[in-house]
Structures are given as C-alpha cells and as structure tokens.
Amino acid sequence: MSAIAGGGPASATPGPPVPPGSARPAGISRVIAVVGPPNSGKSTLFNRLTGLRQKVANFPGVTVEQKLGRIRLSDGTAALVVDLPGVYSLSPRSEDEQVTHDVLMGLTSEVPRPDTVLLILDSTNLARHLSLAASVLSLGLPTLVVLNMADELKTRGGDVDVAALAARLGVPVALISAASGEGWEAVLQFLGGSIAVPRPIDLPVISDIPKCHQWAARLGKEAGYSPPAPPLWTRRLDAVFLHPVAGPAIFGLVVVAVFQAIFSAAPPLMDLIDRGVAASGEWLAATLPASLFRDLLVQGVWSGVGSVLVFLPQILLLFLFLGLLEDSGYLARAALIADRTMAKVGLQGKSFIPLLSAYACAVPAVLATRTIENKRDRFATILIAPFMTCSARLPVYTLIIAAFLPERPVLGPLVGTRAAALLGLYALGFLAAVTTARLLKSSVLRSEKTPFLLEMPPYRMPTLRQVGLRLLDRAKVFLGRAGTVILGVSVALWVLAHVPPKAGHAPKIADSLVGTIGRAVAPTIEPLGFNWKIGVGLVTSLAAREVIVGTLGTIYGIEGDADAGGLQAALRRDLTPGGAVALLVFFAFAMQCMSTIAVVRRETGGWRWPALQFAYMGVLAWIGAFVANRVVTALVG
C-alpha cells in the first residue's frame, strides 16, 4: 500500500480566483492552511513542517492563537504555513470556528487566503473525523487529506484503503504518523508537486449534522475502513488514574511534584542566572568608561533584563511539566478530577493547572489558560491568577516577616511563627482568589449554561520534539512580550530616579522625580501606616514586586538584601507593626507586576480586563491594608 494515493487527474489547474484577504508576502509561492479537528495531531504536523521557523500571530478582537511558519518547498520556493484552531465543523459558531472559517474564506486581513489545505484527520477515529472533510472540501481549495496516527491504527488492528478513499473524495490522501515521521515524505511530495483542485463531488447537506455523520460513516465503509480496537492501554491506565482512591492520590502526588520542581529545582538555576547577570553587569561597569550611559546600561537595562531572566528556569520547568502532562493525556484526567472542587467556586477543572502554575508566576499561568475553551471561565481564571502567592512576593514577605516577627515555635519545632505567618499569607491570597472567582462568575463572567465538555484523548508517549518546541515557544513569549515591558519600565524608573541631575550628578533618591512621586502618593498611603519611602518602593514595585526590596535598600542607603540585618533594622525604626502587617496585606492583594499586566492585555485582547483587574486588586489591597493597620495598631498599640 503506497503512503499517498492520488485522487482524480492531477492536472495543474490554475488555483482559485485571486484571493481576497491580505496581500501575500514577497517571496512566498504558496499559503498552506493546516485544518483539523481537536486532538487530530494538527500541531504535531505543523511543528514537523515548520520546526523552529514559526511564530505566534494574534487576530484582533479574538483570543484564539494562530501559528505561522515558513517552509522551503522542494522546488526551492518558500511557503507560508498557517496552523488553524481545531474545529469539528466550519459553521462559524465558536471563536475557533470563526477564525478557521474566515482564514479559509480569505476574510481576514492578518493572513493571505490559503491556496492549499492540509486537512489532518485522526485515522483511529476516521468515520467521525471525515464529516469535517465535507465542509473543507466544499471550499474548492487544493487539498491533501492527511490521515494521522497511522502507527496507532496499525498496532490497534485497524485498516483503511487509502486509494479507495482518495477516489471517493476526489483528492489525494496520505496515511502518516506525524509524531514518528512515518509516511512523512508523502506530505512534502504533495506540497512540492502540482496540486489538483478537487473536482466537485456529491457532498451531503453540510449543516445537517446527523446526515453529515451518516455520509462520513458510509464513506469510511466504502473506503474499507475498519476502526481499530479500543485503546487497551488507555483503559488500563484510566483504571489506575481514575480509580476512586488511587486516582486522587496520584493527582495529589503530581501536584506536589510540580510544586517541588518549582520551589526546589528552580532556585539553584535562578541563583545561577542571577549571579551571571550580576557578574556580567559588574564586568560591563568595569569595562565601559564612566558615564551616565554606562549607569543606565548597567543599573537600568542590565538589572531590568536580569529581573526577568531570573524567572526563566521556573517558567521553563513549569512548562516542561505542563507539556509532559498535556502531551501524555494526563492533563485531561487531572481536569476531570479537579472539576468538582473548582465548580464550587464557579470555575471548572481546566482552571486548576493554570492556578497551580500561578504559585510560581502569574505570567505562565495566564499563558496556560489557553487550554480552557470556555472564554468566560478562561477570563475568570486569568483575573484571579495574580492573587496566588507568586515567587516574586517571597522576598518581600521574607524581609518584613524577618524584620518584625521573632522566631518562636508554634506547632512543635517544625513550624515556627515565621513559617506560620508565611502560610497565612498564602492562605490570604488563595481566599482572595476564591472569593473573587465566585464574585466574577456570579456577575460579569456568569457562564451562559455552557456545559463542561472535555474530550479524553488516549494516553500517548510525549515526544522530546513536541515538548522542546513548546518550551522554546513559551520562553520566546515570556522573554519577548513581558521582557520588553519590564525592560522599558526599569529604564523609565532609572531615569526618574536620576533626574533632575544636580551639578552633573544624580540626585539623592529623595530629591529625584521618583522621590517626588513617592511624596505625592504619601497622603493616600498614610492611612495604611506607610511613609513616603514605602511610597517610592510601591511605585518602583509596579515593575515587579521584589523590586521594592532593592529600592528600599537604595533609599535607606544600605545593601538591598532580604537577609540583611541593616535593612531590617531600618524598617523597624520606620514602620509601626500595624504598617508592617498592612504592607504584607498590600502585597498579597495588589497587582504590582508589569509583566502580568502585559500578558493579560495580550491574552484578553485589550486593555479593558487588565485595567479592571489592576483597579480591583489595587482597591482591595488598599482596603485590606487599611483594615490590617487599624486592627493591628489597636491590638498592639
């Protein structure tokens, strides 16, 4: 059986009429769309085609992610490959279907109208997936039907007559395995050769789903399709992973493992990067001639870049875990197990993993919400994620707790007062998240009775290639988008801290513009028990929470280190116990993180939600800190 079977005469019929949509970029001979139902292996095919030459494109107004990539065809010309969202049909009902429909029809200005379609279908599920072929083929674009998961079809004892199917559909059909590369040449051969426009075939009424299914089932039968045996290993693994007792236990172990990786395996790597950035900064400072530009580069740009880079190990580790969980198929089971608990606060199972990720950093958490298809659930998850105690809060918490709370055993020798206070702050953030979720889901983001539908993919062995490409993609998104913002803000803050210059030298921080801003905000934060110095710290920590430690260090003229006794002593002199607790509460609630704001803007497609989120969290932080200050001052005196 040949891997590719031609359908109809392969006459080099000229393509469809001049496509509307945006103009084709120069040097691009062909625009190829990858279309397929969810879980058909579309992304694997796309990754195999484009490798590292891909980028993410976002369409205005929608939050559906698009991927664009370039490939070089065998005839030497370049082609643009567009990865479209997974859809079951082309009737534009959901956002995903709308985007797929619009791109294929050439209605969007972001992507030129495709002139070639790779329709990828899961061969282990062919009878069902063929119903999408009806709507895609009726577009009249040159199409190759790619039947994926050939290896699985074979091992599970299924079969399909590729030539018969090609004859029935009137387009070439290839049976491949995108993951292992089996039969892969057929796709390249097809793309490199002349592509026939499908001759019109008798298609069923596409909008009538039962009829479409009947057509697909009959077509499968005519093409000698025998469905594979049920996935035995998936049944066996589910017997363990969805076992009433073992299931939740394994789920708990997975959660602990992810946490452990974030908090134990990542810090040494983060330390390494931190030291590398510091060392290279020192080297730069020593090498370059003394100038204002050098100071800007070293203190502004370098430390700005460093403050972003330092979180990279955590984020990559997190996405390594997420990638393995998702590609293996376990993530869907985890979502199933977590669903009931999440439903209590109005969310759903798929929100669980992003919220877990938020304990490391809200930025990857927001990116991880892409697995949630329901837009309202996704936005609610994005909006509460920054309440989870991220690792950037830790240096602030550590500094203040160490300065104000003497260490005494609380629960035996293991849990002392300081650990208890830290746990309390974690609980506070969690409580705020849960309350906010309930609030959102009962008001602005109330779901329109959209039921929770979760397809359970069979378990599969994750491939290094897939996980690696995903890691690279997440690293690029994190460094690119969040990095530019945090870099800009750190440079701006540096400039503000250095103007107006006095006699050619930088002013004292109290006299600089930052100091002026600090004093300007002082009246609004006085009720919380903060002075203007804390005000400056709050302003600079808008870039990233932990920046306040360094800023306070600079203001008090001492080394900005959370463990430094000098800074702790200075804070004890300057801050009442009420003010200290208020500061902790403020940091638990406030959204002081430019990277998160930037990512939320990107993921929600506008400023509306990040603005609302920033305001809501800010107001909550102020009220919380005010109450904390009053209560503690009344208690302690």
Binding site: R93, D339, R340, P451
Partner: protein, 103 residues
Amino acid sequence: MRRRFRYRKGSPAKDQQKEPLSLRDLRQGEEAVLEKIDLPDDVCRRLMEMGFLPGTRVVAARAAPGGDPRVFRVDGIEVALRRETAAHLLLRVPHTPNAAGAP
C-alpha cells in the same frame, strides 16, 4: 462486561415514571441508546458534532471521585460530562415488561 441499563432501586426514574431516563442515570459499564438532547441549540450542535447523535449507543465509563463528571464513550471517543449536563441527554427507554412499576 457491558450491561444494558436496568431500573434499580433508588433510581430517580423509578419514582417519576413519566420522566425519560438520561445519561446521568447510567452507572459505570452500562450502555444505552441516545434518544434526544434537551439543551440549547448551540450546545446541542456541539454535542452532536462530538458524536452524541440520536440513535447512537453511549457507554458510561469511569468518573471523577464522587461520580461527577463522568466519562462517556461515544462513536470511538471518550467525552467527560458533568451530571447536570448528562441529565439533559435523554435515553431511549427500552419497553421491557419487567421494568419496575410498569403497568
């Protein structure tokens, strides 16, 4: 291993004879034929696209702890549904004389 659904004690359907049975009443390993979907049009379409078509056989598989949501096998795939949704996927009731409470 697969069992046809049978009325049993404590089944919600026993008390309300007129109410058609739904996917919600299936226990693990039981199978039944779908009759209709009693949900808004767009949700109904989505379920149908996933394979929940009238006349299709559905098998109840494993569930999350507590039995909600439950995984259902339909048309070669597995889809998890919450109880509240499953209750709207109505089953073709077998007209067997031994059904409890039958006249």
